[in-house]
Amino acid sequence: MTIEELEQIAKNVQQENAGYDYEVNVCLDLACASQGADKLREALAKAAEASGKRVLVRRTGCMGPCSHGPLVRVDPEKTLYHRVKADKAGAIVESLGRAPLPELQCDLNEHFDRQVRVVLENAGQIDPEKIEDYIAHDGYKALLTVLTEMTPDGVVHRITESGLRGRGGGGYPTGLKWGTVAKAAGETKYVICNGDEGDPGAFMDRSVMEGDPHRVIEGMAIAAYAVGASKGFIYVRAEYPVAVSRLTTALREARRHGLLGNNIGATPFNFDIEIRLGAGAFVCGEETALLASIEGRRGTPRPRPPFPAASGLFGKPTLINNVETYANIAPIVRNGGKWFHDMGSERSKGTKVFALTGKITNTGLVEVPMGIKLREIIETIGGGVPGGHKFKAVQTGGPSGGCIPAEMLDVGVSYDALLKMGSIMGSGGMIVMDDTSCMVNVARFFIEFCMSESCGKCIPCRAGTSQMHTLLTRICSGQGTMDDLELLEELCITVKEASLCGLGQTAPNPVLSTLKYFRHEYTEHILEKRCSAGVCQMEAAVEVMA
């Protein structure tokens, strides 16, 4: 496959699409599919055929505002319809070429206007199982350009110049990581994509893998060229069967088109990718645990150094990046490092995809420039807290993150600002809580999670999280004392400082951040035996008092 052949495919798709007067895009991502989007698509296809109009009905990945699903977008007018049921298919097809249907039309201009789409640029635009659709949207152009016009060093330089930082949560500079692996000695090197999206409440990576799988593959292939690897692995959660099947199809199609395999783009570059399934262990998001899991062993982390860049999979130099990091690569190569560097805040460049969920009006996926205020994400894009309730906190970073209170909403989102507030960027889950959530109970929820997900290798994490859970359970049931609170804080410091890997080191964050911003809720539970959110059952306390 050469660039000319690629352009020919793109041209063919455009020609084919020009044969249609209208394109009806149906979102078939999990949220919409669970509300009957599949039947809707069938009905639309049937109605389109019966109408005699030239209509292309296309299934797409996630369009974003999942709470409005099932979503349908009619092009070229870009009319967005929400909560569409299958019985409306006839009316939609009939309205093509006339005025749009006001009862289904969805006004989310504010929601979309504040977003900048880089990773999600194709989301809702292409059929994820058609490589031609991806190619028609400049797909694989970056890969072939890199192979024919750039040196591996040049690619590393461009990524470094862009200022991209790892999107899995840690925020390590991607260019620096690539440079280290590129310089590592050894014939055999590996490139790994971490698709083990274990943070409960986050689904950005799932949407990218399901909605635009070739973007991830292209990013990995460019990375492999830059660091000198010829073999890659995508490690995906087994809980994401659709992502696995979309990636499998995408890999097959890429091979068929000569975009994976030997002599890609008629150059000496060889690269292929295999899928490895996770098996439900949160700790496997940690890179050394992930490597152990790909090698078929228990996913327990090991001390670093040596870092995977020097000794990773099967002892070879290995590059590990997150799904979203790879998804940023092709646009950076196409548009230049400076283009990316110009977006975002001082030390956090580009955009970030967030999964907005919990007590918020517009749940779903959003992509915003770094540096945007949390308030804008929650109130303008997210539409605020529904049902007349009051915003209490937003949780970022999953079990390793923290809860950010209302007073801090005017802070701009960046790796450093979130860290300063006692949370982390994490992979991008953003869970909004209102006055019906008890922050002590939330802390207990996360500690319970970390306790059961602790691999058990190091004692501070294994025993510490279990003791923290006991203390928090006591407080939540009204049996806690002020001494317990002191002990809890002490334990947090011990677990944070003495644990082997990121899971243990960050496990106390939800407790520490709620203690910092919502200490009064803890003391209320202990001194007044009361949970003002009404979540914790204080039965034990009542018995003691009686």
Binding site: A31, G69, E239, I294, R297, S437
Partner: protein, 165 residues
Amino acid sequence: MSTFMPPPLPSDDKRWKIVNGTMRKSGFARHALIETLHTVQSSFGYLDDDAIRFVASSLRVPLSQAYGVVTFYHYFSLKPPGKHTATVCAGTACYIKGADKLIAAAEKKLGIGQGQTTSDGQISLMTARCVGACSRSPVALCDGEVVGEMTPEMMTEQLEKWSVE
């Protein structure tokens, strides 16, 4: 050095051929352990002692290590699932939106706890860490199908339907 001969298939059940195929694809390499266990579970529904033994000896992995892997990962199950399975998502977004009420309703209706199967083998009640459908929370998987914005009433109704089948 004699060449390694993989053990014979445990029975003439065709599913063992699928399992063997997964191992053959990787040249019976040890690192194919998790892949192979996935194939066993998707073919048989769970992992029993015979299956673990067969896979371990085919891949030349110590039994202790194979068992260690099976018990380490939540996804692997050592018990056969019921005819129907209700899986309540216990991710953060679902927790905030009241997944605990769904679990309580199901436990009450079935008289079993999470991770258990009713004595007639009809229904299993499971929890999941997060199925990634957070925008529709609280979510439950009813025989693998995502049901969003589920209420305790809907849960009880679904279980009722299954139990009278």
